[in-house]
Symmetry: C2
Subunit: 389 residues, 2 copies
């Protein structure tokens, strides 16, 4: 359960931003946004005025929202005649999340509150969310501990001849038994991820829709992502890239396993991943510019003779090397070209330098770190090395 103090601090941070931007308040309708401020993800809408107390309007279940919500003024969703009366004439400019709110919802609320200007606060919302409190970092470590525990068990169930989907099933089974919630929420419009990827060898290098280095083949063209029915063979990299979701908080990590040996090119690429991670972790400090970390990573890949293979198959290279993670898998900040903002203490970032070697497979490392004045603090606390079986 979210605490009252957490909820209040988040609302205060938002209110400060709203005032700075000249907004009279914000209306959040997206479930995980409502959860972030109110502690409930029941079907509800939260109104947070720039000054004063927030109100939660619960559609379903109101009874359950009452037991979960940390907002004192939690009430059933008002009728379309009562709703406007709750907003005074002083409310003129309303923040709204244009990144996730569908046009129908926008039209609905615009009609409920005529004459008001709606302004996009998607970036403000993501900025606030990106910085985790000590309470949140504790939740993230909890998720990390559980996920690492499943990674530790992989040598017990990874066998030559099993299909990628069998490996995925074994991994997910243990994650679920540990209490994994499975909901890997993503904010980007056209992205989705079912828990993670268990992929191997050449198929792991397939390009795809996913905004990451690795997509895998998947099980059909409707779900072209993650494990396929391909059998896992010896002497080829097995990449396990999974999320762990507990209390809504997501951590993200990747390890490489191999039954037998790996070709020197793959080992060289993996060593380069570790070197890049090492450099980034040392620089994961407040004030460092996000895109500069990406440029440095890309430069190190280039110097290792692997520029074309960095973060994707040649020609399909993703232009990032890390992403914020928390209640959503694709939080701010992104260590990407164009992201010219400085890191802030408490941001949690999955760093994932990876190399796709067509025909051979994918190798790389991924860990979730917290930004601190001493550099990145590892949340997914497990040895990085390739596990040879």
């Amino acid at each position: 359960m979210l605490t009252k103090m957490e909820s209040e601090q988040r609302i205060i941070r938002l209110q400060k931003e709203l005032k700075e931007k000249g907004l009279d308040g914000a209306l959040f309708i997206y479930p995980i946004d409502v959860y972030y401020f109110a502690g409930t993800r029941q079907n509800s809408t939260i109104w947070i005025p720039a000054d004063g107390n927030p109100r939660l309007f619960a559609r379903k279940s109101y009874a359950r929202a009452l037991t979960e919500s940390l907002i004192e003024d939690t009430r059933p969703f008002p009728g379309s005649k009562e709703f406007p009366a709750l907003f005074g004439a002083e409310v003129r400019k309303i923040g709204f999340t244009f990144d996730v709110a569908p046009v129908q919802q926008y039209n609905y609320y615009s009609k409920l509150l005529p004459g008001r200007e709606f302004a996009d606060i998607s970036a403000i919302n993501r900025d606030i969310r990106s910085v985790k409190s000590e309470w949140e970092l504790e939740r993230m470590r909890h998720s990390g501990d559980h996920l690492c525990e499943v990674f530790r068990q992989v040598p017990e169930f990874l066998k030559a001849g099993m299909r990628e989907i069998d490996l995925a099933a074994e991994f997910e089974y243990r994650l679920r038994k540990a209490g994994g919630e499975g909901y890997v929420r993503m904010r980007a419009f056209n992205q989705e991820l079912f828990q993670g990827l268990a992929v191997s060898g050449a198929t792991s290098g397939n390009p795809g829709f996913f905004d990451g280095a690795v997509t895998g083949r998947g099980l059909s063209t409707a779900s072209p992502h993650g494990a396929s029915t391909e059998a896992i063979t010896a002497n080829t990299p097995v990449l396990i890239d999974y999320t762990g979701v507990f209390n809504g908080y997501i951590v993200d990590m990747t390890r490489i396993f191999a039954i037998g040996k790996l070709a020197p090119e793959l080992e060289h690429a993996f060593a380069t991943s570790l070197a890049i991670q090492q450099h980034l972790v040392e620089n994961l400090k407040p004030g460092v510019i996000c895109e500069e970390l990406f440029f440095k990573a890309a430069e190190m890949a280039e110097q290792a003779g692997l520029g074309q293979n960095f973060m994707g198959a040649p020609g399909e290279n993703a232009k990032f090397v890390g992403h914020g993670v928390g209640l959503e898998l694709d939080e701010y900040p992104v260590l990407a070209q164009g992201f010219k903002v400085p890191l802030q203490a408490g941001q949690t970032i999955a760093i994932e330098p990876k190399f796709v070697l067509p025909g051979m497979g994918v190798v790389g490392i991924e860990n979730t770190f917290a930004v601190s004045s001493h550099g990145g603090v590892k949340i997914t606390d497990l040895a990085d090395e390739i596990v040879y079986l």
Copy 2:
């Protein structure tokens, strides 16, 4: 893989609707919509003119879209200067899915195509999708067969003392090994489902955000849905409500299990579920009005003395008894109050009369049926009875 003929027939049906509504074409950006028409779910946008040939613009991965897309004119996503030039002056009114397209996307495309009117075609899109071809019904039966096979295995792993989450893990493990894709896509703005629900006893009756009869407690307030860590006891109903997703096609079913015996009230409620299902199946014929099936179901519940318990805990009753299912879990039509349209042959509907008895648990039945002139044809072909262990 979707076939070329399927894709063409879908596009022809859409074009007919576009012409009738006076639209010059439709722009689809939502992944499962693009997949429905083009056979690929790569990150892409499809333009379907009311007359003439469609075009697929692929962002990522273009290489993979080329191998999957059934649209002859599949090309990389054009630059913002080239894009407008692809749309002639005759294109004035463009259909767009306001139900799922975020405001940012709407603004982006409005700006790319200035001077055009965008019209909401959410309902048209859902109407077309609701009627399945013979090819789709075959895919649905395939999903049904796999899901039934996992349900058949439940007596092997359901034990007194295991937690709801353990039961969920066992079920999901077998579903995944069978090739289940796990992506349970939902169209409604604030809905989400992680594969299904394995819930039991009193906690299964918890109200919640989910637009269904059953929510369960879940694992946290961030994911307040489905299995909890509660232990399953003897002589209480165990409700397993799961989806099976194969080739993107979802089927939905529920069965009740009990270790030991169930109280007569629960058995009476279950028998009422079967009687309601029987009535609905006999009337699942083209031309029958959806809401009338709901009214009849509610009336039968009332006559059995269970009106308050129908489709939810007293006061939290959902006003439906069935929902369309296919590439999304919440397709058209809905057997619900206010749904005054007639059924059409080939629609696939999950019928789920359920009763929540506070303090005792939830019982009911759910099967996916195809509408036909002979009544509902069962796609989830497994015995309906309570399984006593």
